[in-house]
């Protein structure tokens, strides 16, 4: 199997999906830019032309509605936000329209829209250019939300998102773009709603998604020498959530940490803790712990950024709190 990077996997998938299905088109800012979206859209304009690879004006609200409308008219748009922070202008169309349409009209027309939202943080970009909005988006009843952590998943989940008949929020992270993985050449899909055990362990379960999976694995590896055996679960899909994989793991380990690089209040950690707390209560030997961002906007200054983003060592210290020596 060829080893390719995460961003190359996305690029390859877009080429293949657009070739396979004439209903698929890409719309949003930066899709024809040499630098805006991390090489993920290379070659698409040349191959498919400006009718299906549409670089738009800075009009997130309007363009999102345009994508919703095209989805209602039997297309399968992939709507890109080169940075999640710019999605707020689009929220009305996403929540009140895309996410509600099928339900509020009694299931007549569906909205097969893929919203591709990129996390792009670090480098002193500060409050308006550093956000991870998976919790806010998972809050919306009509959305499915996926967060691939490997190049293999980046491909498989993108295929599932585009083939899904409902709005799917596909969140990737620029910090993963250079990560390599074995990625089959042909198209394949990964079911939305299935988590995966990335590392087997007996003493404690750490669940994470996207970039935090790599940090969780690093944390687990570093504790192996001390005899702490950490199981790492990649949620892959935040909504629907693979409850069973979490419950099964906690049955075995009795301890649980949920890691999410969003804000803590009413966040992914709160949701996942509630599920594990109510459905795996009898197996727990310790309180559930969360790792998240601090409850503040992102700072610019490097020394503050360094303590702002959770990392392997943040996870390690939480694990140490829970696992007896």
């Amino acid at each position: 199997m060829p080893k390719i990077q995460y961003n190359q996997a996305i690029n390859q998938t877009l080429h293949q999906l657009m070739k396979k299905d004439p209903r698929v088109f890409l719309i949003g800012q930066g899709v024809t830019s040499p630098w805006y979206v991390g090489q993920t859209t290379n070659g698409l304009l040349d191959k498919f032309g400006s009718r299906r690879v549409i670089d738009t004006p800075v009009s997130e609200n309007g363009i999102t509605g345009v994508a919703v409308g095209a989805a209602l008219a039997a297309m399968r748009p992939i709507l890109i936000f080169p940075r999640m922070d710019f999605m707020y202008y689009a929220m009305d169309q996403l929540v009140n329209h895309a996410g509600s349409w099928h339900y509020m009209f009694g299931g007549q027309l569906n909205v097969p829209l893929t919203v591709w939202a990129i996390i792009n943080r670090g480098g002193e970009q500060a409050a308006q250019h550093s956000q991870s909005l998976q919790a806010m988006l998972s809050h919306i009843p009509g959305f499915k939300v996926v967060m691939p952590s490997t190049a293999y998943d980046a491909k498989g989940l993108l295929v599932s998102a585009v083939e899904d008949d409902d709005p799917v929020i596909y969140i990737d992270d620029r910090w993963l773009y250079e990560l390599e993985d074995d990625v089959p050449e042909e198209l394949y899909s990964i079911p939305i709603g299935e988590g995966m055990i990335r590392r087997k362990g007996k003493n404690i379960t750490v669940a994470a998604s996207s970039y935090m999976v790599t940090e969780a694995i690093k944390a687990a590896d570093s504790l192996a020498d001390e005899g702490i055996d950490v199981e790492v679960i990649d949620l892959r899909s935040l909504k629907p959530l693979d409850k069973q994989i979490l419950i099964n793991s906690v049955k075995k380990t009795g301890r649980f940490i949920i890691v999410d690089a969003g804000w803590p209040s009413s966040g992914i950690g709160a949701e996942v803790s509630a599920i594990v707390g109510s459905e795996a209560f009898e197996y727990l030997n310790a309180p559930i712990m969360r790792v998240s961002l601090p409850d503040s906007p992102a700072p610019a200054s490097s020394p503050l950024e360094a303590v702002y983003y959770p990392k392997a060592k943040t996870i390690v210290s939480k694990i140490r709190e829970l696992v007896p020596k």
Partner: protein, 329 residues
């Protein structure tokens, strides 16, 4: 330059020249510091557009409000923001104007009426209208000004803000810096009608297009717009035709990416705002060669001092991370 030049005292011209040069030399220094990895935060340089900020802010009082965008160093400097605090902010230092929390894209210096810059395109347009609304409720004669780019006129909130400001005759001046690009996209690829000032008319608002590289023209038009706003005659949209010399973000010039031609860039450099004013000042004998040199030396010194200040300032302490989320402790 037009004959309206005679309205301007040589003193005023000297001040504006100094401000433009201050912005230019500061930005050039910043460009170099980015190349040396001294400055980390993303910076959208203002080089080439100095006449807009300078002409407009020169028509304002200290207690008038200015709101700005991601490309805000020039507006901050022209409104009188402290240079040391600006450089320190770019260095992420606690002595920075936003205590190192904001970086280049989030500057603020309320003491001189520089309220803040938002890096969300069009993000500060409606707040500027809101400040004007406050002035009208408070019955003060302050004016609110917002700077934004040609790209920002693609956002729906721009139209909503213009309509509301015109409807309520609010004391706000909309300053659009049309530098022909929105990131990598030429204006002809992002606006169906590139005549921006004209769009004021659909809201029955005055719209004016000016040569944004002519500081005197900008100043005169801004002065009139500000005067109208102060007297309750409502808002004006000023479209300033200008050009950024560097790429969208950072010090490079975007030639290497093929986003624009060398010819286009040299055409606009030739028409640059500082050169233009220098020529006029020389031809009218407003400033001698040695006075030019003296101004340049003074400004270089200010910029160097700001760098020294930034370098020797401390970083914010880690345990201050959660300070300032709320005003109340």
């Amino acid at each position: 330059m037009t004959e309206r030049t005679v309205d301007l005292s040589s003193n005023n011209l000297r001040t504006m020249y100094q401000t433009m040069l201050r912005i230019r030399l500061f930005e050039e220094k910043v460009g170099n510091l980015i190349q040396q990895n001294e400055i980390v935060c993303p910076c959208h340089l203002y080089i080439g557009q100095e006449a807009v900020a300078t002409g407009v802010c020169n028509a304002l009082r200290k207690d008038d409000y200015v709101f700005s965008s991601h490309r805000s160093h020039g507006h901050y400097v022209a409104k009188g923001g402290n240079l040391n605090a600006l450089m320190a902010e770019l260095y992420g230092k606690v002595t920075g104007c936003s205590k190192g929390r904001g970086g280049s894209m989030h500057l603020s210096f309320p003491a001189v009426g520089f309220i803040g810059s938002s890096a969300i395109v069009a993000g500060s347009i409606s707040p500027a209208v809101g400040a004007a609304l406050a002035f009208s409720i408070q019955k003060t004669d302050n004016v609110s000004v917002v700077f934004f780019g040609d790209g920002a006129t693609n956002e729906g909130v721009w139209y909503e803000s213009l309509n509301f400001a015109a409807l309520k005759k609010l004391p706000v001046v909309f300053v659009c810096e049309n530098n022909l690009y929105s990131t990598h996209v030429h204006i002809s690829d992002h606006l169906a009608d590139t005549d921006i000032q004209k769009k004021a008319n659909i809201f029955r608002m005055r719209g004016v297009q000016v040569n944004g590289n002519d500081v005197i023209e900008v100043f005169n038009v801004a002065k009139k717009a500000v005067k109208d706003a102060r007297r309750g005659k409502g808002p004006t949209l000023i479209e300033c035709m200008t050009y950024r010399w560097r790429g969208h973000v950072g010090p490079n010039d975007d030639l290497e990416t093929g986003l624009r031609s060398k010819e286009e860039l040299s055409y606009w450099k030739e028409k640059g705002p500082i050169k233009k004013l220098e020529k006029l000042l020389l031809s009218r004998n407003f400033l001698s060669k040695s006075e030019f040199l003296q101004i340049r030396r003074e400004v270089e010194k200010e910029v160097d001092e700001s760098l020294m200040f930034a370098k020797k300032s401390p970083f914010p302490s880690e345990n201050s991370l959660l300070d300032n989320v709320f005003k109340a402790k």
